[in-house]
């Protein structure tokens, strides 16, 4: 198992990350215009000052030199300094924002799996019932409704009209960090981000269970007189859940994509909000750092999904 993980990291992870960061750095640096003129709070500058600032930031060097230098720092876990006037380390900036994004993403994954799986099971068990049709329809709605429209609607109903939940943010200054507080701030963003996952997990779960229900070993289980509940929840479900595990790895990129928009709607202080600020300021080190961070998280997610698949399915062995 460990050999498999190490091989995945060396043979797949590192090359993909190198290719990705190289391409991204290339795109960023060949773009027209200078980041110096985009930074916030910088007055109109004449060309000599711009050139001087660019030299300070190392932007006067050729692309490949910049990239190799950046890479050299990354190996030492240093993502450089932010371009803005405070010049704080990117690692610190990301460290401040990361917990909020992880909390948000994890809660929406828990919502997605926690609601999607039982709903999908019931939908498959009672295939072609009214319940099944309603669920199928709502699954379509869930994957079709834009997260920002759904989020704004939740905001409108629960924060602005009913006034029962905060309209965004994450703890006021001085507010005690209670569990109830977490739930109150988290509920609307997590639901907005999780809706798509609930819908797709339910759809996959339904399809997967229906496929398993046709297998011979289920006929055998029924033939030897097992009760229907045991047939479904013990024999069928265990096999039907396997493909759902791999789905986890596939869905992580779209969850992080969604987080960018959801954090923006609810002014959630995570990596997504930082990303939007950074791209608007053309803050290269921050942009590179965030992209790298997401890339690493997604890669780790796919490894965890594969490994848990191997644990769950004795037929799979990574050697």
């Amino acid at each position: 198992m460990w050999r498999y993980i190490v091989r995945r990291i060396l043979l797949q992870g590192i090359p993909v990350l190198l290719g990705f960061t190289f391409l991204l750095y290339l795109i960023i640096t060949i773009a027209p215009g200078s980041p110096v003129t985009h930074l916030r709070g910088v007055p109109e500058l004449d060309t000599s000052v711009i050139a001087q600032r660019e030299a300070q930031l190392g932007l006067d060097q050729p692309f490949i030199v910049q990239y190799v230098k950046w890479l050299g720092r990354v190996v030492r876990l240093d993502l450089g300094l932010s371009f803005d006037s405070a010049r704080r380390p990117v690692v610190t900036l990301i460290g401040e924002r990361m917990p909020a994004t992880i909390i948000l993403s994890l809660s929406s994954i828990i919502l997605g799996w926690g609601i999607g799986i039982p709903v999908g099971i019931l939908s498959a068990r009672y295939q072609y019932s009214i319940f099944d049709y309603v669920i199928t329809f709502f699954a379509f709605v869930g994957i079709s409704i834009p997260s920002f429209f759904f989020g704004l609607t939740l905001l409108y109903v629960f924060a602005l009209k009913l006034n029962v939940l905060p309209a965004g943010g994450f703890f006021m200054a001085g507010e005690a960090h209670t569990f109830i507080g977490y739930v109150r701030y988290l509920l609307l963003p997590a639901l907005t981000l999780g809706l798509g996952s609930i819908a797709s997990v339910a759809r996959y779960m339904r399809a997967s269970l229906l496929e398993v229900l046709n297998e011979d070993y289920l006929r055998t289980a029924r033939a030897k007189g097992l009760r229907e509940k045991i047939v479904i929840y013990k024999h069928a479900l265990r096999n039907a859940l396997l493909p759902i595990l791999t789905l986890m790895g596939f869905m992580l990129p779209s969850i992080f994509s969604g987080a960018v928009i959801v954090e923006n709607i609810f002014t959630w202080p995570g990596l997504g909000s930082l990303a939007i600020q950074a791209v608007n300021e053309r803050n290269y080190p921050v942009i590179m750092g965030i992209n790298l961070m997401f890339a690493v998280l997604i890669f780790l997610g796919s490894i965890i999904a594969d490994v848990s698949y191997a644990f769950a399915d004795p037929r799979i062995r990574y050697e």
Partner: protein
């Protein structure tokens, strides 16, 4: 003759799904709205009228006006033009790239396949939205950049699909026969194999339009897609985000939001219906 009866069969099976037919009808409605936009509203969607700001729906302005006095109905109709166009064009771009690279990878295999598919992995495994906002902010948001970004970032989907089809079809008798009678690789690939892979491609393209419309709206919502004053459903929602507008003037954000939702839902219904209708495992009748 064979071709015609085949597509009739598909159509007959497609019609059986009520949701698919409903989706098709809604889509046709929105396409007609976009095409005949100038005849449907007397208002210029981009002309602001500061005396008519923030008006609630009335007889003159059925959906009210926005914070710059522009007619919301006109902007929603014209916004459909932009959203649908961006959706179609960007799927065209991703199909163009995806079909060529997927066909090459599946047909030639070996090194070509490895290189193309590794690049596809790189594109596939990163959060689309973060890359999209990065590239859009750096090259400057515009409707053309939006189409290009959405198209270029989503080619791995069709490429993977087509590669799988090519792997399946390249050893079939008809492609061997074509090669035996002297057809070159390009001819075998695009005249003989590609037509047989159209069905799955059609389904993926349909669903691709839905996700492209969602992505465009998302980018525009973040202010990094179609820039104002041109109306797009996403940037209309962006404009209505201040909490006082959200709370007291729902006519500004409900129409574009519902429009995106209904159109994407309809495309997904149609795509799903197409998938069932084109599935060769279904009994032909």
């Amino acid at each position: 003759m064979e071709q015609i009866s085949q597509s009739k069969k598909v159509w007959r099976r497609f019609r059986r799904s009520k949701l698919a037919v409903f989706g098709m009808a809604v889509l046709i409605f929105f396409v007609l709205l976009s095409i005949f936009a100038p005849f449907l509203t007397d208002y210029d969607p981009n002309r602001s009228n500061l005396r008519n700001r923030n008006l609630p729906p009335s007889r003159e302005h059925l959906f009210g006006t926005d914070d710059m006095g522009r007619d919301v109905l006109a902007r929603t109709i014209y916004g459909g033009r932009i959203s649908l166009t961006v959706g179609l064009v960007s799927v065209g771009i991703s199909l163009g790239i995806g079909v060529i690279l997927g066909a090459l990878a599946g047909f030639f295999g070996g090194m070509v396949d490895t290189v193309i598919m590794r690049i596809a992995d790189v594109f596939y495994s990163f959060p689309f939205m973060i890359l999209a906002i990065t590239i859009s902010a750096i090259f400057g948001p515009s409707i053309y950049n939006t189409m290009i970004i959405l198209g270029v970032l989503s080619w791995p989907g069709p490429a993977r699909l087509l590669r799988a089809e090519f792997l399946k079809l390249k050893h079939t008798d008809f492609s061997l026969a074509a090669a035996t009678i002297g057809a070159g690789p390009a001819r075998v690939m695009f005249r003989h194999i590609l037509p047989n892979a159209v069905s799955p491609l059609l389904v993926s393209a349909t669903l691709g339009v839905a996700s492209a419309i969602l992505s465009e709206a998302g980018l525009s919502f973040l202010g990094l897609g179609v820039p104002p004053p041109a109306p797009s459903w996403g940037n209309m929602l962006n404009r209505a985000r201040p909490l006082h507008i959200l709370a007291t003037m729902p006519w500004m954000w409900l129409p574009p939001g519902i429009a995106i939702f209904v159109v994407v839902l309809s495309i997904n219904f149609v795509g799903d219906g197409l998938r069932d209708a084109l599935d060769p495992r279904q009994v032909m009748d």
